[in-house]
């Protein structure tokens, strides 16, 4: 048509456009690495300023987790839980629902998995699967509550999920300290699960001691792949994406937005429930107080770092866990505490969520190209 009113992209042909996309991807990737580097530099300076030996601390932190096979196991076990929790919030995030309910879902999942795995006698294999299914169902139910409150009643999902967390965590504590506490034990924990319900340790497969790492790691990878397929290859995934991109557009196009919101919470809840099952059947073998630690919260960070792409969540989860594992070893072997890891993580989160560096660089490049043209 006319030659007027063209935006930059409209003037490109397909070859140029692909080149631009490749360039933007390269920028994103190198910026991710630069961000990590910048965070490490800041951590370095902090350690220097506090009178520690940063070179030694970093050496321990960055190589420590790979030095012994059981440390690798510790890393993978932690990464499994963390990534599952990251995936669990990534799905509602894709529908633009700020779900902070992973904590209630993971504890509900742990309770369900433990109840089945401790008290219900089941044949082998089924004894592994049924508690996991129960955990997923419990997590899904725990997701449905705030999901329906948001979708049907217009409740604020942040408040709803946080309040539900408070309730479920207290109930969990009560049960572990009371009815489910192993009688005759001085420490607070439940009875151990039946042997058949345990997730097979990876040590058995690889023949090297890998600590508590178990086939839950494989379940996590499969879950990530399944969620990626859900988002990109199913009508429901499309509805989740459009609801997240513009709910008014989705409604205009005939998508039932409330139902999509509920589904996003339910799917996320089920995945968090699986994380609970992994903790019970794979890591601790029983219920313990506060067994998810701060992982539910850190899962949110992982999802944000990965921009809610399920496959990238795996990478972000592995990376984040690696820092956690390295931080623990650093604390054991040097005078530097794990706080420095928190500083590094926080700097990365700030830089990544602000998207400051990549946007700045892309703009620079675009401007220079216009100048050349």
């Amino acid at each position: 048509m006319t030659t007027t009113a063209m935006t930059a992209i409209e003037t490109e042909d397909r070859r140029q456009y692909r080149a631009t996309r490749r360039r933007d991807f390269a920028v994103d990737l190198s910026m991710a690495l630069a961000t990590i580097l910048a965070a490490l530099v800041i951590g370095f300076l902090v350690m220097l300023a506090t009178g520690n030996d940063p070179v030694r601390a970093y050496e321990v932190m960055l190589t420590g987790p790979l030095e012994r096979s059981f440390r690798v196991g510790r890393w993978l076990e932690d990464a499994t839980t963390l990534t599952l929790l990251g995936l669990s919030v990534a799905i509602p995030f894709r529908a633009r629902q700020i779900s902070l309910g992973a904590e209630s879902q993971v504890y509900a999942g742990a309770l369900a998995a433990a109840t089945v795995a401790i008290f219900v006698p089941l044949p082998p294999v089924v004894a592994v699967i049924v508690p996991m299914a129960a955990a997923a169902a419990a997590g899904a139910g725990m997701g449905l509550v705030p999901g329906a409150m948001k979708a049907r009643l217009g409740a604020n999902e942040i408040v709803a999920t946080l309040m539900l967390n408070a309730i479920v965590v207290r109930v969990y504590d009560y049960l572990v300290n009371g009815p489910l506490k192993e009688s005759g034990s001085s420490a607070v924990h439940s009875k151990s699960i039946q042997q058949d319900s345990a997730l097979t340790p990876l040590s058995d497969w690889f023949g090297v001691p890998l600590g508590r790492a178990n086939i839950g790691f494989g379940v996590m990878l499969l879950t990530a792949a399944a969620l990626w397929l859900l988002i990109t290859r199913t009508p429901l995934g499309y509805r989740i994406r459009m609801t997240g991109a513009n709910p008014d557009f989705a409604a205009y196009g005939g998508i039932r937005v409330p139902r999509v919101i509920e589904w996003s919470f339910v799917i996320g809840g089920a995945v968090a429930g699986l994380a609970g099952a992994h903790l019970v059947q794979g890591v601790y073998g029983r219920l313990e107080p506060g067994l998810a630690g701060s992982l539910a919260f850190e899962g949110i960070v992982v999802a944000l770092l990965a921009r809610n792409n399920p496959l990238v969540v795996v990478i972000a989860g592995l990376f984040y866990s690696y820092l956690r594992a390295g931080g623990d070893i650093m604390e054991q072997q040097t005078d530097v505490g794990t706080e420095i890891v928190v500083v590094i993580q926080a700097v990365i989160v700030l830089l990544v969520t602000a998207q400051a560096l990549p946007n700045l660089l892309k703009r620079r490049i675009a401007r220079r190209q216009v100048g050349v043209r």
């Binding site: 030659t3 007027t4 009113a5 409209e10 397909r14 459009m242 991109a245 557009f249 005939g254 216009v370």
Partner: protein, 535 residues
């Protein structure tokens, strides 16, 4: 507030080799030289995206030039923001009026430069000041009325008075007539002339060439960021201006054979709508037949949006019935309306017409993502979605290097093509086209017109809702007028109908009787559903 001194002679405002390149690489303005002497009404015309708004924003300090200089009062100036422009005597009235709705007209006029002493505002002085400015300029307002209760026309006059109160010597009007009726437009023009005669310099942005011819002394034409030329209005015709704007001869008159309406597709009876927000509707009765374009005229906010959204299933009517091809649409959800054969081009494409960060391909399938050939047995095939997009991109001449481009990167007219492509490719029985050419360039505008007529000729019923009377009169086979949520006029033959005449009905000066409004309509009662009447 004291204005900074102006030079004795020279232009009131000028641009010297001004270039503006946006951060995303779009060069909106290219080496523009423009001079406007004091006391002149200068129209600046151009298609959407031609750069006229960007140039005006630089005069008002909202944008800073990447190269070149902006001159105000004969001297080069650095305008860091609107505040420095105002201090130099430049005022701007935006397309979207920027007033405080809960304040009175007078409070809005003096806002920021209030009369009074020691931090206290003198409300009486504010009213007096506003009344005096209104008197002097001929811009009639009620100083004590609250802005949210007055007409759009009065809000606009309030904006102009606000600029006058700040001692503006240059007034930039950005598409001021877009929201006005023909009568209000005339009043505005009279006031603008009076201001000009008092020494005011007026920059008048528009793409309505007829109005430009009527009001301006000279016309500057912009195309693709460059200034094509400046001509004395007396020497210009609408045709010559249009060809300057687009770079070649292009007429907006759509060739259109007389409509051949067949059976009734849309039947609306006693339609009423009452809600906490929005304009209520009262007892609407009308038909739209297959193969005709029925226009809906009216000043914006008289129920057009509500009517369109009810017909599209986005709102539920309070009373009355809507039948599409004999099927009652009550109880159908949005998807049900779409399945029944309703297509809808929404009035605000950025609000709900598109998901801006999603790709063109994804935007094209929102109503069909869950059925073959795109999805089978719960699996969505990205390859099929992409192929579907490639096809529509070709068929509707959507300008893009790739279907994966997010629609945010598209210009207005191009984005509208995506929406129209989606709605028309669904093969609707009824197409509701709301403000279909708003903010699109002339090329895209013509394209939309041709497509609407083609859809009509292919047997679709078209309900065309627009704020642009020229467009309505040019395309509609029949025309309805909405005022305060009621139908007040019905023209079954639009030949010879003038904008002025329709304007009288839009304003409520004249009204058709109920007999004329409902002539030829069957069953006017919207009683309980009668199974026998689905003919």
């Amino acid at each position: 507030m004291m204005n900074e001194p102006w030079g004795k002679a020279g232009p009131a405002v000028a641009a010297r080799q001004v270039t503006k390149t946006y951060a995303n690489g779009v060069r909106a303005v290219r080496s523009v030289d423009l001079e406007v002497p004091p006391g002149e009404i200068r129209a600046v015309v151009g298609e959407n995206g031609a750069g006229k708004s960007t140039l005006m924003k630089m005069f008002y300090g909202l944008e800073q030039p990447s190269a070149g200089a902006i001159l105000v009062g004969g001297r080069p100036r650095v305008l860091r923001g609107p505040a420095s422009a105002i201090a130099l005597g430049v005022g701007m009235v935006h397309q979207n009026l920027m007033l405080v709705p809960s304040f009175t007209v007078a409070q809005n006029v003096v806002l920021g430069v209030e009369p009074g002493r020691r931090g206290l505002v003198d409300p009486k002085a504010a009213v007096e000041r506003t009344a005096r400015l209104a008197e002097e300029s001929g811009l009639t307002v009620d100083p004590r009325a609250r802005v949210e209760e007055v007409s759009v026309g009065m809000r606009q006059r309030t904006e102009i008075l606000k600029a006058l109160h700040r001692k503006a010597r240059v007034l930039i009007l950005d598409e001021p007539t877009a929201v006005l009726t023909p009568q209000e437009t005339e009043d505005l023009f009279a006031a603008v002339r009076r201001l000009r005669d008092g020494g005011m310099t007026v920059l008048f942005i528009s793409h309505k060439l007829r109005e430009v011819r009527e009001i301006s002394d000279k016309v500057s034409v912009m195309r693709a960021g460059s200034l094509v030329g400046t001509v004395a209005t007396a020497d210009a015709t609408e045709r010559s201006l249009a060809s300057m704007m687009v770079g070649r001869d292009l007429s907006l008159d759509v060739e259109r054979s007389p409509a051949r309406p067949t059976e009734t597709t849309l039947r609306v009876r006693c339609l009423g709508y009452e809600a906490a927000t929005g304009q209520w509707l009262h007892g609407l009765d009308f038909d739209v037949a297959a193969g005709e374009i029925v226009g809906v005229a009216g000043i914006e906010g008289n129920g057009q949006s509500e009517l369109a959204e009810i017909l599209a299933g986005l709102r539920r009517p309070s009373t009355g019935t809507v039948h599409l091809d004999g099927t009652d649409t009550a109880g159908l959800d949005v998807a049900g309306h779409r399945r029944a054969g309703i297509g809808y081009v929404p009035e605000d494409r950025l609000y709900n017409g598109a998901a801006l960060d999603a790709s063109i391909a994804d935007n094209l399938v929102v109503d069909r993502h869950d059925r073959p050939p795109l999805a089978r047995r719960g699996v969505l095939y990205p390859g099929a979605v992409r192929a579907h997009a490639e096809e529509l991109i070709g068929e509707y001449a959507i300008r893009t290097p790739d279907p994966s481009v997010p629609v945010r990167a598209l210009s207005g007219g191009n984005l509208q093509k995506v929406i129209v492509a989606r709605e028309l490719s669904a093969g609707p029985r009824l197409l509701i086209a709301s403000q279909v050419t708003r903010g699109v360039d002339i090329g895209a505008m013509r394209f939309m017109y041709e497509r609407l007529v083609a859809a009509r000729d292919a047997g679709a019923a078209v309900l065309l809702i627009s704020a642009d009377l020229t467009e309505l009169l040019g395309l509609s086979d029949r025309l309805l007028v909405l005022k305060d949520g009621r139908l007040v006029a019905r023209f079954d033959d639009t030949t010879g109908l003038t904008e002025k005449r329709v304007g009288l009905y839009m304003l409520g000066v004249e009204e058709h009787g109920r007999d004329r409004l409902t002539v030829g309509l069957d069953t006017l009662t919207a009683g309980p559903e009668d199974p026998g009447e689905t003919t």
